[in-house]
Amino acid sequence: MSSWLLQTEVGEIGEYPFQETFGALLVPLLILLATFALYYGISYYMKSRIHGTTDYYVAGRTIGPFVNGSAVSATWESLATFMGVIALMIQVQMPFLALWTNFLLSIPLIVILYGQTLRRLGSFTPATFCKDRYGNTMSMVMALLIVFVMLMYALGQFIGLAQIAEILFGWEYSLSLLVIAVLVTGYVVIAGMWGVSYNSALQFWIMFTAAFFPMMFILQDLGASAWYFPPLGYGNLSGEMAEALPGFFDMTFDVKWYFAMFLAMALGPVGMPHLAQRIFTSRDVEAGRRTVFWFIIVTGLMFATIYSVAFAGVMWIEQQGHEIGEADLDKMIFYLNFAFNGDTITGYVVAGAVAGGLSTVSGHMLAISAAVANDVVEAFELEVTDDRKTQFGYVSVIAAGLVIALIALQPPAFLVVSILWAFAISAAAITPAIVLGVWSARVNKYGAIASSAVGFFTVLILSPHALGSIGAGGEGLTADLGIDAIMIAFPLSIITFVVVSLLAERIDSLDVDPEYNRSLINEMHGYPDDGVDRFTSAAPLIVLAVLMLPILWWGLQPW
């Protein structure tokens, strides 16, 4: 599989019998500059609202459902929506659609499983929660995991954005990267989550309009009967597609593949701190819950539109008889727009793609900043004033931008190919610690630390990106995405969590007292602190661990 997500080198611009880059650059450049002026204007306007860490990391917890729903959607979608998703849809076809739809589950699951409870608790990141729930050591472990996963994720965004600048302006890759790093870091550092929240919401609507409206004209030219509604307007072309590419609608893989994909692609993003942090910005718990409605509507529309781009791309290639290199399939949305809509509209599409990258990477930078400048400082119990912590926040955003840009200059191959694989790490090492910590008073720091360590190292060891000689049996796409590794790592992580937590209770010297968390558990779930023990039964944990055994056995079978 090859896409900007998985490329190890910046691809050459190919020679095709159709327009590949801008003929006239002035108007597209003005469009792009106008969008950046807007982003900086919003950040500058929001700057005056930064009075402390709560403002910097969670926008003072003031964001309403519509703005947050749009912002979550943009943060969640990323540059991949315009480039990687389309390329992978063209290459992998139906299985990738199933994979990506699983991703859609993550935000409702975050809100239901822990977003509303942690919002009630006033957490900045999952590491803040871990400090309250498990203590300083686990908070440090979680902060390190957050930084690792966010760096891997942000790296791909920076590289993708730099590649767009490279294609657009013909600059050297390193110069493109430097410019992108400065521009992104600049608008994030100015106004923290206040600026990022409103910018991300705006960026969503730029992304959506840049995908939706140009596709109307492309679908009309391709012969779609309901071209005026791209998300569902090309059904009449299904027969033609089935003839041109008979396997397009096939599911290809077996049940095990889709089950493993659910673990990685639905439960992985559940642990992603930049998504959780967006829910923590909600003005109250109720607003956090209502955010999901807007998220499903706007993201559903956006994704359905993007699928139409992939569909149209395949139709166009087949109709015209073009042959496009795998690395260049990432640019399909630009090729289609050059061919059907011209330079000006393609300029706006490029602005949409850039908006996707900016919204996600700004979330990553703030998650890294919160983990380093807030959670690590608190874990060491340093005497630091709120003002000083906010200043650390500014510095750590700049440092995050610098580190990501430096790694992106000459990225290690395994980091570049592993954005989606990072989801497997998140699913095995982050998600269990948060979700079980919220819903059971019986899990403790010993179980959490052991579970995160087992989950992280199992995915790492079985990954083709880190230690190629040891694997979990999958090959190609299955191994690249960590789908084979997660079938072993996730059940192992849960079993470890439960067994170690319950054993630790029985070792007197470890001094585990399940009642220690009683007030915290009651508070986060909105119950009165009435001395009643809630969520204290070990039975659900034991059932969960037992359910993991067949999954583990299944994961160990040959692929």
Partner: protein
């Protein structure tokens, strides 16, 4: 059933139902695709693109409208009970007014 047990069961049920509606498009296909089209699309393609997300919206609405609301109401009652008990205890022991945090409601 106690409120927190109800809350945990409802949460688990809602999460599983959400996963199930999305995966329906996959399972139907793997165990035998319904041989019909919707708006011109093969059923499983339509389900993953539009049917699943629409069903997810509907399910979440049910969770939000009925389950969450009823549990929030029960929690409010628990807070009120504690509040009134404390007030009664405070009246009984001393004439000073209480400064309870139990009445706080983050909903």
């Amino acid at each position: 059933m106690q409120t927190h047990t109800k809350e945990a069961a409802a949460t688990l049920g809602a999460a599983l139902a959400l996963v199930a509606v999305i995966h329906a498009g996959i399972w139907f296909t793997l165990f035998g695709t319904p041989d019909f089209t919707v708006l011109g699309y093969p059923f499983h393609y339509f389900w993953l693109v539009a049917g699943g997300p629409a069903a997810m919206y509907l399910l979440y609405w049910v969770y939000y409208q009925f389950i969450t609301t009823s549990i929030v109401e029960e929690k409010k009652l628990l807070h009120a009970e504690i509040d009134s008990t404390q007030r009664a205890d405070a009246d009984h022991v001393t004439t000073d007014g209480g400064d309870s945090r139990y009445g706080e409601n983050n909903e």
